[in-house]
Symmetry: D2
Subunit: 435 residues, 4 copies
Amino acid sequence: MSATAVFPCDVTPASAPVPQALHDRYCAVRAESLARAAPLSVEDQGVQSMPDASPTKWHLAHSTWFFEALVLLPHLGGYRCFDERLLPLFNSYYETLGSRHPRPQRGLLTRPALAEVMAYRAHVDAAMLALLARPLPAELADLVVLGLHHEQQHQELVLTDILHAFACNPLAPAYRPPAGPVDTGLAGRAEWLAHPGGQVEIGHAGPGFAFDNEGPRHAVLLQPFAIADRLVRCADFADFVADGGYRQPLLWLSDGWALVQGQGWQAPAYWRRSADDPDGRSVDGWQVFGLDGLRPLDPGAAVQQLSFHEACAYAQWAGARLPTEFEWEAACGGPGLPAVPGRPDLPGPPTLAGLQEAFGVAWQWTRSAYDPYPRYRAAAGALGEYNGKFMVGQLVLRGSSLATPPGHARATYRNFFPPAARWQFSGLRLAKDLP
Amino acid sequence: MSATAVFPCDVTPASAPVPQALHDRYCAVRAESLARAAPLSVEDQGVQSMPDASPTKWHLAHSTWFFEALVLLPHLGGYRCFDERLLPLFNSYYETLGSRHPRPQRGLLTRPALAEVMAYRAHVDAAMLALLARPLPAELADLVVLGLHHEQQHQELVLTDILHAFACNPLAPAYRPPAGPVDTGLAGRAEWLAHPGGQVEIGHAGPGFAFDNEGPRHAVLLQPFAIADRLVRCADFADFVADGGYRQPLLWLSDGWALVQGQGWQAPAYWRRSADDPDGRSVDGWQVFGLDGLRPLDPGAAVQQLSFHEACAYAQWAGARLPTEFEWEAACGGPGLPAVPGRPDLPGPPTLAGLQEAFGVAWQWTRSAYDPYPRYRAAAGALGEYNGKFMVGQLVLRGSSLATPPGHARATYRNFFPPAARWQFSGLRLAKDLP
Amino acid sequence: MSATAVFPCDVTPASAPVPQALHDRYCAVRAESLARAAPLSVEDQGVQSMPDASPTKWHLAHSTWFFEALVLLPHLGGYRCFDERLLPLFNSYYETLGSRHPRPQRGLLTRPALAEVMAYRAHVDAAMLALLARPLPAELADLVVLGLHHEQQHQELVLTDILHAFACNPLAPAYRPPAGPVDTGLAGRAEWLAHPGGQVEIGHAGPGFAFDNEGPRHAVLLQPFAIADRLVRCADFADFVADGGYRQPLLWLSDGWALVQGQGWQAPAYWRRSADDPDGRSVDGWQVFGLDGLRPLDPGAAVQQLSFHEACAYAQWAGARLPTEFEWEAACGGPGLPAVPGRPDLPGPPTLAGLQEAFGVAWQWTRSAYDPYPRYRAAAGALGEYNGKFMVGQLVLRGSSLATPPGHARATYRNFFPPAARWQFSGLRLAKDLP
Amino acid sequence: MSATAVFPCDVTPASAPVPQALHDRYCAVRAESLARAAPLSVEDQGVQSMPDASPTKWHLAHSTWFFEALVLLPHLGGYRCFDERLLPLFNSYYETLGSRHPRPQRGLLTRPALAEVMAYRAHVDAAMLALLARPLPAELADLVVLGLHHEQQHQELVLTDILHAFACNPLAPAYRPPAGPVDTGLAGRAEWLAHPGGQVEIGHAGPGFAFDNEGPRHAVLLQPFAIADRLVRCADFADFVADGGYRQPLLWLSDGWALVQGQGWQAPAYWRRSADDPDGRSVDGWQVFGLDGLRPLDPGAAVQQLSFHEACAYAQWAGARLPTEFEWEAACGGPGLPAVPGRPDLPGPPTLAGLQEAFGVAWQWTRSAYDPYPRYRAAAGALGEYNGKFMVGQLVLRGSSLATPPGHARATYRNFFPPAARWQFSGLRLAKDLP
């Protein structure tokens, strides 16, 4: 397994972080996972509310298993496995790495206890820090960096998954106290930003980390288009609901309309009708469940937890469309952006003047299926299973969300989910053709 | 709601326990629930491994809800509800008492926390003890007694349900340490005990508590039959498995054979093939999962966690049949039996000399559908929902099991489960016709 | 395979019909099957509208297969099989007789064509008539008689199954032209007929044919009861619907209420709301689909196509209950009854003076699970699969229906279906306890 | 509804066929449908073997309904509807045009009879021919042309769907007699054809008909690639099977591997193990079911009835990949090709010298999700539902098959099916990157 195979998109081996930096980063990322779990009780951390979600405890263990199975066991001589019986329990989907506990049964694993998982983390951390204390071959350093980005992906899932579980609980528990009053005062009209189209470069070009699915970098032809400067707001989406958006089949793709009817969709998944206006004819008719519990709908907040189908239907209703992932990336300006002042974790200002909320609010569904880029080829071995085998039946989301950990977002980042998924921090930004 | 309605099978009102006795019994039963939960971690107590099972925490809360909803709220003036939001969460199936949280989602309730459920229990206990400190009308005392028997039913389910969850865990956790060596030395042949048949009285006749489904007492005609003096042993059942019992359709009822094929049944649910004899051709080929974990098959132990269909197929293979519930009760001698020395909780020696293991080992499937007794009529109101509405599609089991709490077994007791259920402490005893 | 094994309920071998009579009866029964298929097009005869129903063509072939597989192939030397490839296609559920085409796929068999099935019938008929032309051993004659009763069972299913298919067709085709005006003028109140209870004899006692599940004849104790002189009428049932019967959970058994909610039941399966009174508040609000198409509800007609659950809920609403199968048989007077003048096919007048509609209108759900009678033992071999293996999860229906062919009804007849089945000609008769 | 809206891909209105030509073409296409149904019995024409397939009779009626609902009713003054009750029965998926009979129940429609559907066809044909006898506005002529292409699509489905039904029948009926001996002698190695990549024009450019999803024509950048000169042969695919291709998870996309395991896939859907070599280790081990029945595997025949997942796994195993739809179209040479001598219905020779079997053998899965082309916009109204609403969750197939009717294939044609579909005439052609 070579680093080239892992990072086929032109990662310069010389870009490997110096040991101290990697040590610090390892500590910071691992600490963030625990910080995200901290508000949750032992019981909360064990629950799995649907097959697609996982318990917090499982996320904590799986991201640890990644370091043990891919870094320590093959690369650290003399490493003693914490408990071999745990390996199949916390392998997610790597056929290369042996058998796996069935995904829908992750919530049944009351043993190992959370305390044992914490001991597992400590055991692996100790070994990892010992490893990181010495000079590493570039490939191994790159593998550690991949493990950290992997853990960051699960940090976001810790929040999406517990939010789904809490949304199933009639007591509507809050993950955290409300940050302030509901009305962010952000309502108002979006502006269209024009892009001339033409040939643009798409995909990651080093230096710096990227997942293999972000490359190879290649040229794409775009036609002139406009993209909204901001995300669709809850007030906008409430208009769609009030206008019967969930009752008009012609607004929906065929599969989407089947979901609306079969699942009884009437509004976004985490919207609840409020007692004030039970018919939901105005924004006062809704409460929205989120990390801070069940609160009145904030008209200016970005709508979230949308499926691709709801995003598509909204765009159709609004006389617009979703951007392709290439349009999105072109609007965002691509890689190599300067940092946002005070937020070194976020990519810099986009090329398209005025573009807001590209990162840190909600992932943005695109109209692009998650197909491989030209000349993409998954690596051999376990790492080849990381992204490539999911490249069918999914749609690309771009940007990042309020749940994305610092340092994890990137203009070339290709997030992906099936079109029916509605438990992510996923919203939309409109686009349209220009002559 | 009158006591007559609740206990339509001739309970003499005068049979109500004296206050001090009821107080003591209340305390003892409530303590037993906590004792059963004690070996379980907070995580264990929250898990639900299938829709038919419930978390320990839910059992602890639901049995408390029963006292709050049926005793305290309607009968104790000035009682303050612990938390009204919990009422629908812990109502099991009483349409009369309002809405209910969906059964398959009981495991998603990480809130209220276990500690809050314990506080709920303490709150209700305090009110109940206050109530029990004064003279009670007989009907109310009877209602409390019913609540205690209800809680005892859930005490058994605490064990069956956590055992199912543990059986799903590849780590095979043990609920309790093994009590001793595996071989009980009880293997050997069963003896047939003859019963002359004729007219027998079936069903509960006071004094003493019984569920409404145990009455009215009535006469039934039996033909001469023989019944085995003991339960079918694991060694016996291993012979059935080794003889291809799970591969011969003619041994099975039609629905049973469909389950064998559709679910891939090859042995009892909690049997695991051991490495010593992976083909399972001998008793050495099996390990059995139970409350004390995964252990070698004990040839002399009663086979457990059987479905009705497996019990029926075994009996067919053995050239015998299951007893009817009436034969079982006649063999057992009916109500009013003297106590077993040293086990005041168990019914006394059966009329049929030599009958063993009627109680305290494994529930025994009968060949009787769970139909109402003649003139049975469910009470009006919530208590009428206790038993009557389940009287279709289920089979009667008689006796009691190792998981049945002291004082809960009774010769007239009618336990019932669907024919496919295989997570109870359920085995079988053979019967046959006599000329 | 001995006749004793086939008919364990005391059929006197001497009762075997004389050859000429059996020849005539064979011809008559076989002709009746074709007569029932005659109004149906080739297309109609091929359709299967649900897994539990079968195409007419399949019924015609399967009843022929029964004679070929059980009579001709084993008993007629030199018999040439029509086409061996058809044997698994038309074996219904006999594990003893080889593999079987999956039941839900019977409607996919466009080949063999209907014309080939007709040729199959002719081929088997020729061989059967040759066989019947000579003196037969009693066991073989009994087997032929069984085959004829078997075919008669499928004659009823031809009508129930095509009616289900037609009910799925928005064009609402009629199997036959209406026999006359809708209003039979039979509305009015039922009368209660009293029975003193006591020890009664239940089950078939020869001479004459009976299925094995009707025996052995045995004594049963009954308590005093009353039974309605007639079946529940559509007008009665419309009152139940209008009174919210399908919206009151306490009227239903638990499984029944789950069906009401899960399947959206609001009325009997073949009732359709009419434009005249779309809220269904009166009998004018309904049309009923039947063999003569979609017609206005006839208040005086017996309600049909009810599930056990609907029958049970109605009885609960009416303050009554369903009779047990033993009460029904006792009321009907048991076997050995004189013939009805002009209807030699129907059992004679019942013992209970005034009992009407026992036969020829609608099967009557009883409150009895389909359990084996005492000392019932299925025969060895294929015939043992006829009835015995279905003795769990089903309820007994008694009487016969308008679709039952002449000569097939019997006071001891035990029809059986799962409690959710609602495509049979099944209604109900009320019963109640007497002091 | 304007023709521009219907054909947004630059169809020149002047291209509308002259009346006589359109009349002749109408007659020819309509006759072809009947010709395809001719070998099928009345019973065959009524069967629906799965929800995704439709009965022949339904196809015959639906393609007629298209002309009635979209041409005659809105555009032919005084047209008398054949039977208004049929409109919802034969509307496939047009929400704009009223309610629809549930798709999985099309096989239940034994009425209207096939003869009535033939009368329906004759009724509509008479009206259509009257309409076509006069000069038509270009938009209306275009609409008729669309209806003919629509009917041709259903002509292919007549064959795919009846083949699926026949494949479910153990008698393995043949749609037509075998055309000749099995071995086509075509086995042998494929050659790679190189394409330099660069900017290519993709999509339909008039004149001539195209579906809306084939446009707008637009430029795409390609990288150098090679494409196989022929389709993958059965001999090739048998090697894949024999090499354990269906047992190696790393060859499959994640969803594909789940299908392999969940559905028990072991070979292409219509391959059957032969008695000669039941382990399937050689090509002699297989029989293949097709329009001419069950025949020995022809090593040189193109493998068919593959799902996308099987095509993808094969390509992975072969060290190659599927082409994108753009690569396929570039290799094929795009629109405006000269006719193949003697086959005026097929597009002309491709630009890439040596490319064989582009048309007329098997549809070829591509690695392209069925996404809209840039600036694609579905028409308003019913015609907008034709293609656009299916643009998610499907993969593009290119070329045409042996079942595609003459005159229907086109280099820009975008066929589409879900990745699990394996009942079409769908195979694959390999591609690979060039430096």
